[in-house]
């Protein structure tokens, strides 16, 4: 029984970080109806941003957060204008292969530019261990969790209480009606895409002290984020938070009982199981028409 507090704390900390990845994904999906296969590559770019700033200039990942927000917003505007804008209204196949193409290009650009070596960011706070009762965890994990939760909460508040948020929700609910009300849907999509990328970029920076950094680092996390998003109901932010906790719980228990070597198998099996048995999510039906469920 001694491990129980530790397992619970690990689940919550991990869940907070997954939530930040998943919220960006669910925002893009909910509003643009685009499944972003390149989401993991932006996570990877966030991790590399932290790695290079730390290695070249000794900057702490938390300082980089300040740069990462505008930077990823700009990357979002750029990729939207260059790549996504023309395919928002296109067929599934076109959207799939556009984002898959983006993913392949970014992943291999990272591979060519920075090689496939595993890199590590180890600032002072990744070595600080905090103990509360029987549970122990390191400082980076706690800060990552707090910042992630703060960001997610800010985004939820933004969507709920600001005018821009209302406009975005209106577009998500009914594009035609929103257009008739004079909403510039192109701007809404651009904003949703860019905010989604800021979330995942921040998540990458926050995760850099906790995980190794390499060109395909995004893949496992993005598949995981899809489990979360599907579990929570597509386009549903609160659902994404709950989904993150569930997925984190499964991962923590899985690595505790089966060993961390096999935990990736658990991700993927869980993923297939969720898609097969609960494609409309645990809590709702939103977006299920896209799945054909």
């Amino acid at each position: 029984m001694g491990a129980v507090p530790q397992l619970i704390v690990s689940t919550v900390l991990l869940g907070g970080i997954y939530a930040l990845i998943a919220v960006g994904l669910t925002l893009i999906f909910g509003i643009m109806r685009v499944v972003n296969f390149a989401h993991g590559e932006f996570l990877m770019l966030g991790m590399y941003l932290a790695f290079w700033s730390f290695t070249l200039w000794g900057l702490d990942p938390y300082v980089i957060l300040l740069v990462a927000v505008p930077l990823f917003f700009a990357i979002g505007l750029l990729t939207y204008a260059l790549v996504m804008r023309g395919v928002v209204k296109a067929s599934h196949n076109v959207q799939i292969f556009t984002t898959v193409g983006l993913s392949t290009a970014l992943q291999n650009a990272a591979l060519v530019a920075w090689t496939g070596d595993f890199r590590f960011v180890r600032p002072w706070h990744s070595g600080v261990v905090i103990r509360i009762g029987e549970a122990a965890f390191n400082l980076s994990q706690v800060v990552a969790f707090l910042v992630a939760v703060l960001f997610t909460a800010a985004l939820v508040a933004f969507m709920k209480w600001t005018r821009a948020g209302r406009i975005m929700r209106a577009t998500a609910q009914d594009v035609e009606a929103a257009t008739l009300m004079g909403i510039d849907t192109d701007r809404v999509y651009r904003l949703a895409w860019s905010i989604g990328l800021v979330c995942v970029g921040i998540a990458g920076v926050l995760m850099s002290p906790l995980y190794s950094v390499y060109p395909t680092a995004g893949l496992q996390f993005v598949l995981l984020a899809y489990v979360v998003v599907v579990l929570g109901g597509l386009g549903d932010m609160i659902g994404a938070l709950l989904g993150s906790l569930i997925v984190a719980g499964v991962e923590v228990l899985g690595s505790y009982y089966l060993g961390s070597a096999w935990k990736e198998v658990i991700y993927f099996v869980l993923f297939i199981a969720v898609l097969v048995f609960r494609p409309a999510g645990l809590f709702g039906q939103r977006g299920s028409e896209t799945l054909g469920a």
């Binding site: 499944v35 296969f37 790549v83 023309g86 395919v87 296109a90 067929s91 599934h92 196949n93 076109v94 959207q95 799939i96 292969f97 556009t98 898959v100 193409g101 983006l102 993913s103 392949t104 290009a105 970014l106 992943q107 291999n108 650009a109 591979l111 060519v112 090689t115 893949l219 496992q220 598949l223 899809y226 599907v230 070597a261 096999w262 990736e264 198998v265 991700y267 993927f268 099996v269 993923f271 297939i272 898609l275 097969v276 494609p279 896209t290 799945l291 054909g292 469920a293």
Partner: protein, 323 residues
């Protein structure tokens, strides 16, 4: 018959190539063009004809490669048997994943198949007792037709050409037969097809399984030809994307499209490899960046693929000539 003219020209030229040249580099390029075209054609059976766009077909390719390599190295069997075992395993895997993911549409089918290929990657790289883990398996060279070991490239050209023609004929069958038309109905409008009494579910699962079996055979031959199976390559998402890419560039749901796509993409890769291998091996990844960008540009501007685009141009010219 008229529709087969481009294929006759393409395969005919391939068959004549060994008569004209004995250059190892050129023949190697030809074999790879045909082989990647064949895998892509196999992918096209599910992705193009049935509309089940898989992004995890490397799973089946890897199953084939591992079956052939393991039967040859561990149990000292003929790789022909390996091809058969691989095809059977892939059929079962295709039936399972095709059945499980049947309800899923568009991107979610793609995601489920990626997850499936990743599960196989982890199994292959961690289950050391059987697969030698992440080191991969060198496939021993044993000369002879029964063991698929040839000193010269020429038998390989004809072997792979036979496979390519076989897969082309499967695709042509899907364009002209009753099940093929039914499959097109399922792809274009599943509800309407269901209402007409077409067994949509069964057809889609069958298409995925058939596509998986063909992909696996290509994987087995590839392992014999290249002589080494690396789990991180044969189960990679990049490889799955490549299968799809050839078909999309050539033309989704066309019989010759995957081969046209492969001709372009594989030549580009071979050229870049030859150019960059001397001074900077790391730059070889550039062809993958180009893949990605090409994919974005093609689906945006020529979503019907090159074959469809050329067809439209020819028909437009025909109308112009008659008028």
């Amino acid at each position: 018959m008229k529709r087969d003219v481009p294929a006759l020209v393409l395969f005919g030229l391939a068959a004549l190539a060994p008569v004209v040249t004995r250059d190892g580099f050129l023949l190697d390029s030809l074999i790879l063009i045909l082989l990647w075209g064949a895998v892509s054609g196999a992918w096209n059976v599910a992705g193009g004809y049935a509309g089940q766009v898989s992004l995890g077909h490397s799973a089946f390719f890897g199953l084939g490669a591992y079956s052939a390599a393991l039967l040859a190295t561990r149990w000292n069997q003929s790789p022909w048997l390996g091809l058969l075992v691989g095809a059977l395993l892939a059929t079962v895997a295709g039936l399972v994943i095709g059945y499980l993911a049947n309800r899923l549409k568009g991107p979610y089918f793609g995601l489920a198949t990626i997850a499936f290929s990743q599960v196989l990657l982890i199994l292959a790289s961690r289950w050391r007792a059987v697969t030698s883990g992440s080191e991969g398996i060198p496939v021993p060279f044993r000369p002879g037709f029964a063991t698929l070991g040839f000193q010269s490239k020429i038998p390989w050209v004809y072997l792979v050409l036979t496979l390519a023609i076989g897969i082309y004929l499967v695709a042509r069958y899907l364009e002209t037969s009753r099940p093929g038309y039914q499959l097109a109905g399922v792809r274009e409008d599943e509800d309407a097809a269901e209402a007409l009494g077409i067994p949509c579910r069964r057809l889609k699962v069958a298409a995925v399984a058939a596509s998986a079996a063909l992909t696996s055979v290509c994987g087995g031959l590839w392992a014999q030809y290249v002589g080494f199976v690396d789990p991180f390559y044969v189960f990679s998402v990049d490889l799955s994307v490549r299968f799809a890419l050839n078909s999309i560039i050539g033309g989704l749901g066309t019989a010759i499209g995957p081969f046209v796509g492969s001709l372009l993409i594989t030549s580009l890769e071979t050229y870049l490899r030859a150019t960059f291998s001397d001074f900077k091996a790391g730059l070889i990844g550039i062809y993958l960046i180009i893949y990605g960008c090409l994919l974005i540009v093609v689906v945006r501007f020529v979503p019907q693929g090159l074959v469809g685009w050329i067809g439209e141009r020819l028909r437009a010219m025909g109308r112009y000539a008659r008028a």
